[in-house]
């Protein structure tokens, strides 16, 4: 069975979802639930920490596409951080760097939210 885990930590206005393991068509609903939960709480400033993500398929990439518009409509964003080269390559193949901000570290991604506020 594919192991996949997520955890959410709030730092001020920003919520960080850390993803771990294998994100595929079977495990993507767990991440969808995280987004639904944050949107219901009106927490629209979201950073995804990919540091412990071993694998992603297009079903996982689709989750980010599914929620981005609603989140940006509410003056929020999904910023992506700490990807391995392997995971970044898949995002890159599908053109995600044009639509999403991708940062080397979680702190850098969080910092971008306060920059854009002023």
């Amino acid at each position: 069975m594919a192991e996949f885990k997520t955890s959410i930590v709030n730092k001020g206005e920003v919520s960080i979802i850390s993803v771990k393991g294998y994100l595929d068509a079977h495990t993507a609903p767990a991440l969808e639930n995280n987004f639904t939960e944050l949107i219901n709480k009106e927490r629209f400033k979201i950073v995804i920490n990919f540091e412990e993500l071993a694998y992603i398929s297009s079903a996982g990439l689709g989750v980010f596409m599914a929620y981005i518009e609603k989140i940006r409509d509410n003056k929020g964003d999904i910023k992506l951080a700490s990807m391995s080269d392997k995971v970044f390559n898949i995002f890159d193949l599908l053109g995600f760097p044009l639509l999403y901000e991708i940062y080397k570290s979680e702190d850098e991604a969080i910092g971008k939210f306060s920059e854009s506020k002023s």
Binding site: M1, A2, Y22, D24, A25, H26, Y55, S57, S58, A59, L61, G62, M65, A66, I68, E69, K86, I90, L93, L94, G95, F96, L98, L99
Partner: protein
């Protein structure tokens, strides 16, 4: 030389099985001597093909049959995936346009695009009422 390189996995059309399918492909590819990057790419292409079959050919019905056959020689690595669900015309899947997806919030076609990008050949054959076959080929860099 005997062609005893081929190996088959028969499994149900449940997304829960994607992990077993990936393990089957990667352990075989490792024994075949492929590089880590080649293994990752083949594993992802097979995952995408099987995900498409589960979602579209079997419409997420978890008791359909999938057969995944692996074979290789010095020049290429081939994966043949059979299913017995609805047939599928890959030509109607357009090349994905992320800007358009962004506006329409549709995400279909990403898997097909990844398969075509990661593999050297992706070939679909359908015998309606009997089976559908996906043939994935990766040339091996000697």
């Amino acid at each position: 030389m005997l062609s005893n390189n081929n190996k088959e996995l028969r499994i149900k059309s449940n997304t829960e099985n994607l992990a077993s399918i990936r393990d089957f492909v990667s352990s075989y590819a490792e024994k075949a001597g492929l590089s880590g990057e080649e293994i990752d790419n083949i594993m992802l292409a097979v995952d995408e093909a099987c995900t498409n079959i589960i979602k579209h050919a079997y419409k997420s019905f978890p008791d359909g049959e999938l057969s995944i056959k692996l074979d290789h020689d010095k020049k290429k690595f081939t994966i043949t995936i059979l299913d017995f669900g609805s047939s599928f015309d890959p030509d109607i899947v357009p090349k994905p346009d992320l800007q358009r997806y962004y506006k329409e919030r549709k995400v279909g076609g990403l898997g097909m695009y990844l398969m075509k990008t990661l593999m050297d050949e992706v070939k679909y054959t359908s015998v309606p009422g009997k089976y559908n076959k996906v043939l994935l080929t990766k040339n091996i860099n000697a």
